[in-house]
C-alpha cells in the first residue's frame, strides 16, 4: 500500500508500452490514458494516510509526500484530459508520448518521497529524461521545426544543473559522511556559515532552481515553452514545479535565517526572478512564452515564501504553488483547446474569444485574474500570505519590490483579457469544446475560487502537512 501510486504509474507505463507495440487508433489510446490517469489519482487518494519507510529508509511516505502525490496526480489527470487530442504529436507515436509522460510523473512522485541524496538524484533524472524526450516529439511535418532546438537547449541546461547538483551533493557527503537528509540536516546545521557548506547547499539548490525556473537557472523557459507542443508545455509548466517546491522545502530546512550568506543569495535570486520574469513578459506576443516568463516571476514569489524559514512560510509556499498549478492549468486548457492544429497561440489569436467560446473565455479570464493576483481568487490570497509572512520577518525591501512586481504583472495579464473580451472576432471560427474539457475547466475554476474564498482552511492544512516533516 505504501508504494501504491508509484506502482500504479509503473503499471500504467507498462500497459501503454504494450499498447504501443500494436497499431491502436488514437481514440483507444486516449481512453486508456485517461483511465490510467484517473486510476493513479484514485491510488494516490487511497494511500493518503499511509506512513512508513521503504528501501533502507531512503524513501519516506508521510503526509507531506502524500499531499504532493495527490496534487501531482490531479495535475497530470487534468493535462491528460484537456490535452487528449494531442494534435501536435504525430498519431503513430501517441502511445510512446504517453509512456514518457507516465515515467516522468513516476519520477516526480518518487522525488517527493525521497529523503536520500541518491534516491533524489535518480528520481530527478528519471523525471527530467522523460521530459527531455517529450519536447522534441512535436510533429515536424508542418512549418514548426524549432522543437529540436528547444529540446537541445532544455537538455544542455538540464545537464548543467544536474552537474551543479551532483557537485554540491558530493561536498555534502564529504562534510557529513552520509547521504541521508536527516543526518545531513543535523550535520550542516552546525556549520552552514562555512564556505564549503554554503557552496554545497547552493549547488544542490541550483538543481531544483532549474526545475522551478528561478533566476539564474531560468534560461531554458521561454524557448522550451515556445518550442514544445502545447500539451507538453502544460505539463512542464505545472507538474514538475510542484515536485521542485516539495524538494526545496525538504532541503531548505538545512539553512536557517542565521546563515546570512545563503539567505542573502536566495533573496537576490528571488527578486531578480520576479523582475526578470515580469519585465520580459510585458513584451511577449506568444501566449505560451508570456506564461513562461510569468512562471519565472511566480517562482520568485515561492522562493520569498521559503525564505522566511518558518513553518508558516513553507505552508504559504505550498499553498501558493498548488494554486499556481491550478491557475496555470486553467490557462493552458484554453491554449490547448483554441489551437486546433496544435499551432502556437498568439495573444491576438484570442480576439473575440468571448463570442467564439464563452466558457473558454471565462476560464482564461479567471485564470489570468488569479495569476495577476486579484481577489477573490487563489493568486491574490497566496501572494497576500507570502507578503505578510515576509513582512513578519522584517524583509521590508523584499516586500516592497514584490509588491511593485505584482503591479507590473497586472498589466500584461489584463491586456490578454482585454483582447479576449473587448475585440470582435474577425473571420475566426467558433471553438468547439468537448464535454470533458468543459467539465475540467469548471472543476479548475471551482478550485481557484474555493481556495481563494476559504484560504485559511487550506493554509492550516498546509501547515499540518509541513509539520509532519519538521
Amino acid at each position: 500500500m505504501l508504494f501504491l501510486p508509484e506502482l500504479t504509474l509503473l503499471g500504467a507505463g507498462l500497459i501503454i508500452f504494450l499498447v504501443s507495440l500494436g497499431k491502436p487508433d488514437s481514440g483507444t489510446v486516449k481512453n486508456i490514458t485517461i483511465g490510467l490517469g484517473a486510476a493513479t489519482l484514485i491510488a494516490a487518494l487511497m494511500s493518503f494516510d499511509q506512513q512508513g519507510d521503504l528501501f533502507f529508509k531512503s524513501y519516506r511516505v508521510d503526509l507531506f509526500s502524500q499531499v504532493f502525490k495527490i496534487l501531482i496526480a490531479g495535475a497530470m489527470l487534468a493535462v491528460l484530459i484537456f490535452g487528449r487530442k494531442l494534435t501536435s504529436i504525430k498519431k503513430e507515436i501517441h502511445p510512446e508520448y504517453y509512456l514518457f509522460l507516465f515515467s516522468g510523473v513516476l519520477g516526480l512522485m518518487m522525488l517527493v518521497s525521497s529523503v536520500e541524496l541518491l534516491a533524489i538524484f535518480v528520481s530527478l533524472e528519471l523525471s527530467s529524461f522523460a521530459v527531455y524526450i517529450m519536447v522534441p516529439m512535436r510533429d515536424d511535418s508542418g512549418k514548426i521545426n524549432f522543437q529540436m532546438e528547444a529540446g537541445a537547449k532544455y537538455l544542455l541546461f538540464g545537464v548543467m544543473a544536474t552537474g551543479f547538483m551532483l557537485f554540491g551533493m558530493s561536498y555534502m557527503y564529504g562534510l557529513t559522511g552520509s547521504t541521508h537528509l536527516d543526518v545531513i540536516v543535523k550535520g550542516l546545521s552546525t556549520m552552514y556559515n562555512q564556505p564549503a557548506a554554503v557552496v554545497a547547499i547552493m549547488m544542490v539548490l541550483a538543481g531544483f532552481f532549474y526545475k522551478l525556473a528561478i533566476f539564474p537557472f531560468h534560461f531554458w523557459v521561454p524557448d522550451v515553452y515556445e518550442g514544445a507542443a502545447n500539451e507538453t508545455t502544460a505539463f512542464i509548466a505545472s507538474v514538475p514545479k510542484l515536485a521542485a517546491v516539495a524538494l526545496l522545502i525538504r532541503l531548505i530546512s538545512m539553512v536557517s535565517a542565521e546563515g546570512h550568506t545563503i539567505v542573502n543569495l536566495l533573496k537576490v535570486c528571488s527578486v531578480l526572478s520576479m523582475f526578470y520574469g515580469n519585465l520580459s513578459a510585458l513584451v511577449q506576443k506568444d501566449l505560451k512564452r508570456m506564461l513562461g516568463f510569468s512562471g519565472i516571476a511566480h517562482a520568485g514569489f515561492v522562493l520569498l515564501g521559503l525564505l522566511t524559514f518558518q513553518t508558516t512560510g513553507y505552508a504559504n509556499a505550498l499553498y501558493y504553488i498548488a494554486g499556481y498549478a491550478v491557475m496555470n492549468l486553467a490557462c493552458f486548457l484554453v491554449i490547448c483547446t483554441v489551437a486546433k492544429d496544435g499551432e502556437n497561440v498568439l495573444i491576438e489569436d484570442l480576439s473575440g474569444l468571448h463570442k467564439r467560446s464563452p466558457i473558454l473565455a471565462l476560464t482564461l479570464a479567471i485564470g489570468l485574474f488569479a495569476l495577476a493576483g486579484i481577489p477573490p481568487f487563489v493568486g491574490f490570497m497566496g501572494k497576500f500570505y507570502i507578503l505578510v509572512g515576509a513582512l513578519k520577518q522584517d524583509y521590508i525591501y523584499l516586500v516592497t519590490l514584490a509588491a511593485i512586481n505584482t503591479a507590473i504583472a497586472i498589466y500584461y495579464y489584463l491586456s490578454v483579457v482585454r483582447v479576449t473580451f473587448c475585440s470582435n472576432p474577425e473571420n475566426q471560427d467558433v471553438v468547439k469544446t468537448g464535454m470533458l474539457t468543459n467539465a475540467t475547466s469548471i472543476v479548475l475554476l471551482i478550485i481557484i475560487v474555493a481556495m481563494g474564498v476559504e484560504p485559511q482552511k487550506f493554509v492550516d492544512f498546509a501547515q499540518m502537512t509541513i509539520q509532519s516533516i519538521m
Binding site: V159, F167, T179
Partner: protein, 108 residues
C-alpha cells in the same frame, strides 16, 4: 607534505575534482557544437564522481556509499548521452548543422 605522499591526501583529489568541474563549465560555455557541449557536461559529472570517490576513501564512516553513488552517476551519464545524441541526430536532420550559431530560431 612531500611530493611522494601526494597520492594519499584528500586535497589532491578534491582539487582534481574541482578542476574537472571547472573545465566542464568552461567547455559548456565556450564550445560551439552541441556534441562538444555534451562532452563538456560529462566532465562536470566526472568531477563530482572524483569528489565522491575521494570522500569515500578518506573521510566517510561507511566506505561503500560513495562508490555506489559514482556507479549511479556513470549509468545516468550514459543514459543522458544517449538522449543527447538522439536529439543531436534530430537537430541535424532539420537544420543540417549542429553548430550552436545556427540554432537560433528561438530567441531565448
Amino acid at each position: 607534505m612531500s611530493l611522494l605522499t601526494l597520492h594519499n591526501s584528500l586535497t589532491t583529489y578534491l582539487v582534481i575534482g574541482a578542476l574537472l568541474f571547472g573545465i566542464g563549465i568552461y567547455g559548456l560555455i565556450t564550445r560551439r557544437t552541441v556534441i562538444g557541449m555534451l562532452i563538456a557536461s560529462e566532465l562536470m559529472l566526472a568531477g563530482a564522481s572524483v569528489n565522491f570517490m575521494a570522500f569515500n576513501r578518506f573521510t566517510a564512516p561507511d566506505p561503500v556509499v560513495g562508490q555506489i553513488f559514482t556507479l549511479f552517476i556513470m549509468a545516468i551519464a550514459a543514459a543522458e548521452a544517449a538522449i543527447g545524441l538522439s536529439i543531436v541526430v534530430a537537430i541535424y536532420r532539420s537544420y543540417t548543422s549542429i553548430d550552436t550559431e545556427d540554432l537560433v530560431k528561438l530567441k531565448g
